[in-house]
């Protein structure tokens, strides 16, 4: 069978099992689009901006675990995709991005729509390729999928000059089943001696903590984690990226940790004597002040990426390997071993933790005449039985979604944790909804973030994606405003949003349903009414309290036990005064 480069490319994607291709056509990829036109195995989703193509593919990947695939043209097509590629890179999301390139003969001549895509994307990809020979195209695509989805996953870019896809040049097609790269062989199995040491250390703990991250979600290790946590009876906290890897409704889960983590999780981190970090990377939003991070603790760290180990925090027992594989081995040792956790000490430790818990750090004013954003998220959780896929943008609404939705399953919470990309939520929700057409997909956002990729409302109409957009509209760039309130003496520099569009009319003009809610009394009924429209995209424009802040909060560079607490909690730590905004 002889195929052109364009046909090979499309055929490779089919053979790789790709369902959706998120893209936008342009000069350098026209041969590929022509080949796409002549087949119906792969569904192409036409976005309205290349950034959205990458976020949609990213959302698809986070929800399904399969690599998301993107096709964009050269020049601006590639540069627009960069934000989405960097977003995926920071959160280790498997993605293959095909960028068109000007013909090989004119590369380097500043041709129309030429950029050095390999050069521009190099610092934010796991790897990238420039295809120089059509006979290498199939092998390169195989390598790209292999690299993107194994080891610590990440985005891979394939830059394809237009002449490579020339329909006039046909060559025999062969897609390799397997690829072996001498320079890339990720470690899967952990070192058995280290695993044994870790188990021994864990069983000596009097004040243990389990801290897990996105690696558990990416590594499909939730089952193994549950077995470990239940067997040991230890408290568990997760990072923003790890939410859902352990059920939030379980008694042993003590909430998220870090900058906006719970009082109990952060206090327990500070006081623990043995910490096991699983698929987490000691991000600065998690550790707070490095010098005071878990000051009295010995640390075990499981991660597939050796460079994550001892990068910021020096650990005592490092284990490089796939989280699920390592946890299986660990569970086996624990379950078959004779030694048991320190029962008495553990009881005392839980008593301390439950004391912190009783201070109810997540309390907020439930009698306000304004709509409280936390109440919205709680209600959305209730209405969707806590079973929805929730994407978010970046800011206060993201933290409230993380804190109040209560994720019981992995792959359900989809947000840009590492890069913090506003504009991520709506396109990511499109990717999730395409993968799971019968599930409820919600984008919790703010009136600032949603405007960064709002053009995708049009894509949602084209493909009939009934995403529910919950916009917590406080007329402020809320997180910026909160920092200005705390650290800039209430000088609210450019954090106020004037001249907002009428989101209801905007949604309607895109062919969707818009519902504005500004009264706490109608909140439930209006949300229920919108969520009942199963086959429509509904944009909830919810007017929330402008003054609400995200609590608890550890200021940048402070330790875990130095939190700002909500004025409505019973915590012993200093509380922030309630403020009226002028």
């Amino acid at each position: 069978m002889e195929l052109s480069g364009a046909e090979i490319l499309v055929r490779c994607l089919k053979d790789e099992g790709v369902e959706f291709l998120f893209g936008y056509p342009g000069g350098s990829v026209l041969h590929i689009y022509d080949a796409l036109y002549q087949q119906d195995d792969i569904k192409h989703i036409l976005v309205r901006h290349e950034q959205a193509a990458t976020h949609a593919a990213d959302g698809y990947a986070r929800a399904t675990g399969k690599p998301g695939v993107v096709l964009v043209t050269s020049g601006p097509g590639a540069t627009n995709a960069v934000t989405g590629i960097a977003t995926a890179y920071m959160d280790s999301i498997p993605m293959v991005v095909i960028t068109g390139q000007v013909p090989s003969a004119v590369i380097g001549s500043d041709a129309f729509q030429e950029v050095d895509a390999v050069g521009i994307t190099r610092p934010c990809v796991k790897h990238n390729f420039l295809v120089k020979d059509v006979t290498k195209l199939a092998e390169t695509i195989k390598k790209a999928f292999y690299v993107a989805s194994t080891g610590r996953p990440g985005p891979v870019v394939i830059d394809v000059p237009k002449d490579i896809t020339d329909p006039a040049i046909k060559i025999p097609y062969h897609y390799p089943d397997k690829i072996i790269m001498r320079s890339y062989q990720p470690t899967v199995k952990g070192h058995s001696g280290q695993i044994k040491r870790a188990v021994d250390l864990l069983l000596t703990a009097k004040k243990p903590m389990i801290y897990t991250g996105g690696g558990v979600v990416l590594g499909n290790a939730s089952e193994e984690l549950r077995t470990l946590v239940r067997h040991l009876g230890y408290p568990i906290t997760t990072t923003l990226m790890g939410l859902g890897s352990y059920p939030a409704s379980d008694e042993q889960f003590i909430g998220m940790l870090g900058m906006h983590g719970t009082y109990e999780a952060n206090m327990a981190m500070h006081d623990c004597d043995v910490l096991i970090a699983i698929g987490a990377r000691f991000d600065d939003r998690v550790t707070g002040k490095i010098a005071e991070f878990c000051p009295d603790s010995q640390i075990i760290h499981i991660d597939i990426d050796p460079s994550s180990i001892s990068k910021t925090i020096t650990v005592d027992v490092p284990i490089v390997g796939d989280v699920a594989t390592v946890l299986q081995e660990m569970n086996h040792l624990l379950i078959t071993g004779k030694k048991q956790p320190q029962k008495k000490a553990l009881e005392a430790w839980w008593a301390v933790i439950n004391g912190w818990r009783a201070q109810q750090c997540m309390s907020f004013d439930r009698n306000s005449d304004k709509i409280k954003p936390q109440a919205v998220v709680e209600l959305v959780h209730e209405i969707t039985n806590g079973d929805a896929y929730v994407t978010s943008d970046v800011g206060q609404h993201q933290m409230w979604a993380a804190q109040y939705y209560g994720f019981d399953k992995p792959n359900r919470w989809i947000n840009s944790g590492g890069l913090g990309t506003m504009g991520f939520g709506l396109p990511a929700a499109m990717g999730v909804q395409l993968a799971f057409p019968d599930d409820v997909v919600i984008c919790i956002t703010g009136e600032g973030s949603i405007q960064m990729c709002i053009q995708e409302l049009s894509t949602c109409l084209q493909y009939g994606l009934p995403v529910k957009i919950v916009a917590l509209n406080n007329r402020y760039l809320g997180m910026v405003r909160q920092w200005q309130e705390f650290f800039y003496k209430e000088r609210y520099s450019h954090s106020y949003m004037e001249s907002l569009p009428d989101f209801v009319k905007l949604a309607e003009s895109y062919g969707h349903v818009g519902i504005r809610i500004d009264d706490p009394k109608t909140l439930r009924a209006e949300l229920e009414r919108g969520f009942a429209m199963k086959d429509r995209l509904v944009f909830f424009d919810i007017v929330t309290d402008q003054t609400e802040n995200v609590y608890p909060m550890i200021a940048q560079g402070k330790a875990h036990n130095e939190m700002h607490m909500s004025p409505h909690s019973n915590c012993e730590l200093p509380q922030s005064p309630e403020r009226e905004l002028s």
Partner: protein
């Protein structure tokens, strides 16, 4: 802070050098010198990087380099006995007889070769460790150095230890 010599076998692909150089600049690592050329196997290049950092930083540099998909193998030569060599071409002004004699004598002492002679200049080729080359430049302090070209360090482990695929 310690000086480390890191040897790398890397796929001889376009862009491989920029991945390494980009890594050092993006993560704000020091780079004192970097040399690269293909090996006897034309699909592989051998790269020698001289860098300075604390143990923690060097550990990260090595891990981050290993993480680059194109890097096949890597060795921190400074961890064991090794040989390092650098080559320098240096052009010195020798306008008078006494200058010519003195430069020739210094070159001999350092086992350099004078490889080009004009009525007013000597060009000397000198090979040795980076410190030897520094010392030679210092020894020439009383002379006018017109130009220096240094190759950067190449290194290899002593004894049986090899860096090979």
């Amino acid at each position: 802070m310690r000086r480390h010599i890191i040897s790398i076998l890397i796929e001889n692909e376009a862009g491989a050098l920029s991945r390494v150089a980009g890594l050092f600049s993006a993560r704000a690592y020091n780079i004192e010198s970097l040399t690269v050329a293909p090996t006897e196997d034309p699909t592989l290049s051998r790269m020698t990087i001289v860098t300075v950092g604390t143990e923690r930083i060097i550990e990260q540099i090595i891990k981050q380099l290993n993480k680059l998909i194109d890097v096949v193998k890597l060795l921190d030569l400074s961890e064991g006995p090794h040989i390092e060599r650098e080559m320098m071409l240096i052009k010195v002004k020798v306008a008078t007889m006494s200058q010519r004699d003195d430069v020739k004598r210094l070159s001999d002492i350092f086992r350099g070769n004078i490889i080009d002679v004009t009525p007013s200049t000597y060009t000397i080729e000198l090979t040795g460790s980076a410190t030897k080359i520094d010392s030679f430049i210092e020894a020439l302090a009383e002379h006018k150095i017109l130009e220096t070209v240094r190759s950067g360090v190449s290194g290899i482990a002593r004894g049986d230890k090899i860096l090979h695929v």
